[in-house]
Every structure is written in structure tokens, then in C-alpha cells.
């Protein structure tokens, strides 16, 4: 195997996916061999409403360049209402992060159902591209964690 020593910037992206819709959507993308950049690393959570703003800030602090949160479409939440709370929370959180000068393209919420494998791949493709274009995220990084 050859080590690929390209210097091209590859962003680090954390994707939180709810177990019932979006994680299944990601699995479906896999089943259908729909490719998307490997920069996306998925963390499985029971519901999008499990995602604490702290997790998102923590990711940026530790060097993530983008964070995307995927949940069931509004109205389809496995737990009936979780994603409605997610929608309010993330609307406020992302708006606040942008207010502090964090590029708003670095954070995103997407609704991806278990049937939307193609959408999952397309969304990840697009998000990775957008984040890569912004370059490294510096504005919320904790310098000490870099050592």
C-alpha cells in the first residue's frame, strides 16, 4: 500500500445522525454504494434531540471544521417530537455561533429519512465541499488541544 502524501486540505467533519432515520439513511447510502467524502465521520445518537450544543462546540474546540446534525423529517420523529426541539435549539445555537463570527456554512441541520440514502450522500457531498472551501476552522478551536 502506498502512503498518499498529498497536502490538499481535508476537513474534519462530525455528523450526528439519529438512529431511526438519518443513520439508517447513511446505511442505505452504503447499501447503494453512493460515495461521499471520507471526511464525514458519523456519531450515532438515539434522536437528534440528544445532541447537546456542548457536543457541537466541543467538536469545533477539538479541531472539527464542520458539524452537521441529521434527524428525521419534522413530523416523522420516532419519539414523536424530538426533532421539533432540535429545530428550535439548533436554530438558536447556529444563529448565535454566526453572531460570534463563526462561518455559518460550518454548521448545518438536515432532515434525512431512512429512505433517503441518495439524499444523505448528496448532502454530505455538498457539506464536505462547502466546508473544504472555507478551509480550516480556527475561530472556536482550543489551541491547547492541538499539541
Amino acid at each position: 500500500m502506498q502512503i498518499n502524501n498529498t497536502t490538499e486540505f481535508r476537513p474534519k467533519i462530525v455528523a450526528f445522525c439519529c438512529n431511526w432515520c438519518s443513520y439508517a439513511g447513511a446505511d442505505l447510502a452504503g447499501n447503494n454504494r453512493l460515495s461521499y467524502p471520507a471526511d464525514i465521520k458519523i456519531i450515532r445518537v438515539p434522536c437528534s434531540c440528544r445532541v447537546n450544543p456542548t457536543f457541537i462546540l466541543r467538536a469545533f474546540q477539538r479541531g472539527a471544521d464542520g458539524v452537521i446534525l441529521c434527524g428525521c423529517h419534522p413530523g416523522d420523529c420516532h419519539y414523536t417530537s424530538g426533532n421539533y426541539y432540535t429545530r428550535r435549539r439548533m436554530t438558536l445555537l447556529f444563529s448565535m455561533m454566526n453572531y460570534l463570527g463563526i462561518e455559518k456554512e460550518r454548521t448545518r441541520v438536515e432532515w434525512v429519512s431512512a429512505a433517503e440514502g441518495a439524499k444523505f450522500a448528496a448532502v454530505m457531498q455538498d457539506f464536505a465541499q462547502t466546508v473544504a472551501a472555507l478551509g480550516e476552522s480556527k475561530r472556536l478551536e482550543d489551541l491547547r488541544c492541538k499539541q
Partner: protein, 664 residues
């Protein structure tokens, strides 16, 4: 410190083709906690699983990371393997290196790098895993059915037949519900009473069913398997255990002017009455608003004529408290109020009636003994206009009416039209419709018979106005297909009023913490896959309280709900999902944020005394999660500002460890 074993699966070439599995196994060997790592062709195979069991024994592993396909595929398999090996099944984490890695990344270098990162994230999480055990709770083997219409009757009978005691609560004095008021049923034209009343008798005679009529649920506590319910049985002033239902009192009572609700107030009964001949329980009841004995202590005729001494003017409401394992809601529907529909002159003319009133008018046991006559003058109508979708399928922003289709009106109107033409062939019958909807077995044939065999005039278009003029009702309407205005002089206008959930449903839903939609229909746990369950565990939905339905559909849903109840009551104990929220009472503020967002009502509060560092004590309100009710969504953990609420299996620290591992 955990002793973690990492098992990297090739999945044949599914993973191994684009992920260098050996490299993954090597790369994670020096991760904190990892004491063993290996790759193998098929981890999920018998041989792969024994390999895991052996490794656990040999290396005294306390946690497992399986790098394989999606946890949605084989998480439960590997949890069972862990259990076989003698470690807690929740000490297993899966790194999804197939669906989310090898299958979507073509480059082996990139795929391997990502697989290593995913494995490290899973390792970081397992390091913080703790053994979890499902909570167990006992199941009370008794069911409560709320609502004694055909839905409640069917559910109660099915559950009782399976051998479980059932309490059937009905707010009226008799069970039977709307179906008891109907004349014939579509599409077979059976007489409703002929098929319903034997079922009512079955209920009355069933050794496992207790009917609690003239009663309502007042308080619900507890959770699936263990509900505690308070039921108020309202005073009927007649001792149910003694009354024989002979009916003598209902003939002798001097107060004759009590509107007969069963006949939709189209005639009168006495102040003491039996709702209808086949009522169950067949016991008299006194209307305290009309009885002069109860109002001013003068009369007492019924007590004098009652040969068994069943009349009890002193009777008080009774509170029945009982435990149940499951609750079925079958609260049914009502036609909407037509107060706001003056364009159809419903409140202006006695000869504009609802379809349900029409049922009573054509019912042999109804106020006219089945003779179809005009309520105003008792004459036989010769031209009848039926108007469909009155209050159904309205625009979302309309000031009145419902957005949904009431579903049953097309069919019962076809039935009404057909019956009229059959019995009174000289009557002209017009039906105004937006669309005729007839999905269902033998439904479209039925409707076409009305048009083709019975010559009912079906006109696509809406009625704009009904104006009472002398003895006739001037109906102004449009025929959309012919594109012309119509004026019909009708003798009787029948409105197919939209149906809406009974008003008692909303407060009941609040007591049950069951969710409802904006129209006050109960919401199902999943619209396709769990249509008879409420999202609140242990609550089941039967009949029109969940959405508009006809009788066959109601009965099938009632039986389906009963089957679900029986499945639940067959269990001696319930094992919950161990990944539930837990509250740290030392940190809890008691602010109720968590309870506000919990969709299941799993969180309650208690006042608890805490010892403070200075040896004083302090009372504090703290949250308690009922693990039998919690479904583990984790919404509360984010609503909680102090971080007192956490979710087992997906703890804050575990998720942050994954974040850290990925961002490293």
C-alpha cells in the same frame, strides 16, 4: 480501566476490499484500554462468535468493539455473544466500517484511515461504558377500555375472551354508542341493532367484563403494566344491582317533557327512563335536572311503583379505584355542531336535519316508528336533498369546518338515498357531492347501485344556500359538470355533517399523557407500523378516536388493539430498554424543563431532604425518571441546564469521547 478487545470483520470482501483490516487491527492495539485486537473473515458467523467468546475468556475482556457492518444489522447479535461470554451486553460497541466506510469510499488508503478513526471512536466510547440492565416491572393483568361503543365493545370482548378481566367505562347510561342509533349499515344493509345488540348482551354476560356505565375516568397515574385509575361513577339514583329493567317507573313518571337524547331530542321521555329497549345495562336512570323529587322533594312516584325498591334518591357519585396493565381508548366521535352553518338553514328549519337524525327518523325504534316524515308537519317528503361534506374537507384557513375527510359520509348517504328510493319510490332524491369516495370492499358497487338501480340523482357541486319558504326548502346549488345553477324545491334537506372526536378525548389524553393531533384525534405510535398504539406505552387506540372510520374498520382496529393488549397482559413482567434517562438528584434543580419536553410523561418530581455540607438539611424538588416509561430519546438531557439528566448508553461523556476521538 477497561480491558477491551477489538474485532475487525472482513465481511468477506465487503469490507476487506477497500479497508486494510489488518492495518486497522494493528493501529488500534495501542489505544487506551485495548488489550487484544484481531481481524477475521466473518465476525458474525458461528466461528467468529466463538472467537469472541474465547478471547473474552483468554484476555479477561470487559468491553468489546466490533468493527463490522451497521449496528442496525448485528448489534443485537454481538450483544448476545457478549452475554454468552459472560459480559454485560451493553459493553459492546460497533464501529460501522461497512455501510459507512468500505461501501462508500473506493480508495483503500482513505477507507483504512477512516475505519481506524471510527474504531478509535468506538474504543473511546467503550472505555466509558457501564454494564446496563433492563428494569423489570410487574404487569397487572387487567385492562381498562374507555368508551362503550362498537370499538370499546369489540376490544373488551376480545380481551375478555383471552381470559383477562376488563372494565368497560361508558359515559352514557348504556353501552352501544353511535352504532346503536343507526338504522341499517352499509354496504350489506344489515340492521345495526340486529348485529350490535347481541354483542352488547355478550358484554353484559361475560364473566370477565365489568361495565361501569354513566361514569368517567377522573385520574390516571402509573405507567405501562401498572396504571392506577380513578373512575367516577355518577349517581343514577337507581340501584343497578336491584333494578330489573321492567320499565314500569318509566311509564308512571309524571314528568313527560324530557328531551330524548338517544333520539337526538326529536321526541321526549320521562324523567326516569331507560335509554332504549336493548340498553345494557338495562337499568333505569333518573335525570336530576327534570326529576321533581330530586329538585324539590315532591313526587316519589317511581319509588312507589318500583316493586323491588331500586329507587334511591340519596345515591351519591361513587369513586372506583383500580389498577390496570393496559388502557384502550375508544372515545369515539360526534357530528360537529352546525350552529355556524346558517347557509343550510339548519337552525332555521326543522326540516333541515343531520344524517344521524335521518337515521333515527328511518329507524323502526325511532321517534316516528320508522316512518320517514318531515319533523315540521309530519307529512311525507317527496323531494329530498342530501348535502355531502358539510364541514369536511374545508380549506386550512377556513373559519369553520375540518380539513380532513370524514370518510363515512359518502357511503351512508348512498345508503340513505337508496333506502328512501326503495321504500318510497315516488320520492326524488338528490345528492350534492364534491367527490364520491368509495374505497372499500363492495363499496363502489353499492354506490353504483344507488345511482344505476335506484335512480338517485348524484350532482357534482355544492349547495350554496337553503332558504325555508313556507312549506318548502328552496335549495340553490350548482352543477359543476353541466356548469349551471340549480334551484330545487325540497321537502327535506339532510346534511352529512363532519365528524369530530368526542370532547372527552382531549382531557383524557392529558391524563394519559397520550399525544393528539391538532384535530384532537389520538396520535398513533407509528402511522403505518404501529397504528393501534399510542406513543405512550400501554395506551392503545380503538376506533374513531384515532381518525374517521366506518364500522368494519373500527371493529378490525378494535380487535387489533385488543390483540396488542393481550400480548402485553400475557407477560408477567416487562423488561424495559436499559438505555434510559437517569437524573442525578444531587445536581437536579427541579425546574421541570425535562418533564416539559418528555413526550412520554416519564418524569415526575418528588420533594427530598438533602443534608448540606454544614449539617443542615434542605428540602429540594428533584426529578425522577420512570425507566419503564422512558423510551430513551434523550431530549431531557439537553433541556436540563445543570446536566443532572443523562442518558444511559449515550452519556454526555461517551458522546464527547467519540467527538474527541474523531477530531484528533
Amino acid at each position: 480501566m477497561q480491558r477491551i478487545g477489538v474485532f475487525v470483520c472482513w465481511c468477506g470482501s465487503n469490507i476487506a476490499a477497500t479497508v486494510d483490516v489488518q492495518r486497522v487491527a494493528d493501529a488500534v492495539r495501542s489505544e487506551p484500554g485495548v488489550v487484544f485486537s484481531v481481524d477475521y473473515q466473518y465476525m458474525c458467523s458461528q466461528a467468529g462468535q466463538s472467537m469472541i467468546v474465547d478471547a473474552v475468556k483468554e484476555h479477561q475482556l470487559t468491553g468489546l468493539v466490533i468493527c463490522s457492518c451497521s449496528p442496525r444489522m448485528h448489534e443485537s447479535t454481538f450483544r448476545k455473544t457478549a452475554q454468552l461470554a459472560g459480559i454485560n451486553p451493553y459493553m459492546v460497541e460497533i464501529a460501522n466500517i461497512r455501510e459507512q466506510c468500505s461501501w462508500v469510499h473506493k480508495d483503500i488508503f482513505i477507507g483504512t484511515q477512516k475505519a481506524i478513526t471510527l474504531a478509535k471512536a468506538a474504543i473511546a466510547k467503550v472505555n466509558l461504558n457501564t454494564p446496563l440492565t433492563s428494569g423489570e416491572s410487574k404487569v397487572t393483568k387487567r385492562a381498562l377500555v374507555i368508551g362503550g361503543g362498537i370499538a370499546g365493545i369489540q376490544s373488551a370482548l376480545d380481551i375478555a375472551d383471552a381470559g383477562f378481566p376488563v372494565d368497560l367505562v361508558e359515559k352514557e347510561a348504556t353501552i352501544g354508542g353511535k352504532m346503536a342509533q343507526l338504522d341499517k349499515t352499509f354496504p350489506t344493509l344489515d340492521c345495526a341493532a340486529c348485529i350490535l345488540t347481541p354483542k352488547m348482551v355478550d358484554v353484559a354476560q361475560h364473566e370477565n367484563i365489568r361495565i361501569i356505565s354513566h361514569a368517567q375516568v377522573e385520574e390516571v397515574g402509573g405507567f405501562v403494566g401498572n396504571f392506577h385509575v380513578k373512575i367516577r361513577k355518577k349517581a343514577r339514583f337507581v340501584d343497578e344491582s336491584i333494578c330489573t329493567g321492567c320499565g314500569l317507573c318509566t311509564e308512571k313518571c309524571p314528568q313527560k317533557k324530557v328531551p330524548n337524547a338517544f333520539n337526538l331530542n326529536m321526541d321526549h321521555h320521562r324523567a326516569i327512563y331507560i335509554p332504549f329497549a336493548q340498553a345494557v345495562p338495562k337499568v333505569a336512570i333518573i335525570d336530576p335536572d327534570y326529576c321533581s323529587m330530586l329538585k324539590n322533594g315532591k313526587c316519589g312516584v317511581c319509588a312507589k311503583v318500583c316493586s323491588v325498591g331500586a329507587i334511591d334518591y340519596q345515591q351519591k357519585d361513587e369513586i372506583i379505584e383500580e389498577d390496570y396493565g393496559a388502557i384502550v381508548t375508544a372515545t369515539g366521535y360526534n357530528p360537529i355542531s352546525l350552529e355556524k352553518y346558517d347557509e343550510y338553514a339548519y337552525s332555521l328549519s326543522k326540516d333541515v336535519i343531520t344524517s344521524l337524525e335521518f337515521e333515527r327518523l328511518t329507524n323502526a325504534a325511532g321517534p316516528t316508528q320508522g316512518h320517514l316524515i318531515r319533523p315540521s308537519d309530519g307529512k311525507q317528503p317527496h323531494t329530498i336533498v342530501f348535502v355531502q361534506c358539510v364541514g369536511s374537507r374545508c380549506a386550512a384557513n377556513a373559519e369553520k369546518g375540518k380539513e380532513y375527510c370524514s370518510k363515512i359520509c359518502c357511503m351512508y348517504t348512498a345508503k340513505h338515498a337508496m333506502l328512501v328510493r326503495d321504500k318510497y319510490p315516488d320520492t326524488e332524491v338528490y345528492v350534492f357531492y364534491i367527490d364520491v369516495r368509495t374505497p372499500g370492499k363492495s363499496f363502489d358497487e353499492f354506490y353504483r347501485r344507488a345511482v344505476e338501480e335506484y335512480g338517485v340523482h348524484y350532482i357534482k357541486g355544492m349547495v350554496g344556500k337553503v332558504i325555508p319558504e313556507g312549506n318548502t326548502l328552496k335549495v340553490q346549488a350548482s352543477d359543476l359538470l353541466m356548469n349551471k345553477q340549480l334551484h330545487i324545491d325540497a321537502d327535506l334537506v339532510v346534511l352529512a355533517a363532519a365528524i369530530e372526536p368526542d370532547r372527552s378525548a382531549r382531557p383524557l389524553a392529558t391524563m394519559l399523557t397520550a399525544s393528539m393531533d391538532t384535530n384532537d384525534f389520538f396520535t398513533e405510535a407509528h402511522p403505518k407500523l404501529r397504528p393501534v398504539e399510542s406513543p405512550t406505552a400501554g395506551i392503545f387506540l380503538s376506533g374513531t378516536c384515532q381518525g374517521p372510520k366506518d364500522i368494519p374498520e373500527t371493529v378490525s382496529q378494535a380487535s387489533a388493539a385488543a390483540a396488542k393488549v393481550i400480548g402485553l397482559l400475557c407477560k408477567n413482567t416487562l423488561k424495559g430498554n436499559p438505555c434510559v434517562a437517569v437524573s442525578d438528584e444531587m445536581m437536579c434543580n427541579g425546574c421541570s424543563s425535562c418533564a416539559n419536553v418528555c413526550p412520554y410523561g416519564a418524569i415526575t418530581y418528588e420533594s427530598k431532604e438533602f443534608r448540606m455540607p454544614d449539617r443542615t438539611t434542605r428540602m429540594r424538588r428533584v426529578a425522577k425518571v420512570n425507566p419503564a416509561v422512558c423510551q430513551g430519546c434523550g431530549c431531557c438531557t439537553v433541556a436540563c441546564p445543570s446536566g443532572a439528566m443523562d442518558l444511559d448508553g449515550f452519556k454526555n461523556q461517551q458522546i464527547m469521547a467519540e467527538v474527541d476521538a474523531i477530531c484528533k
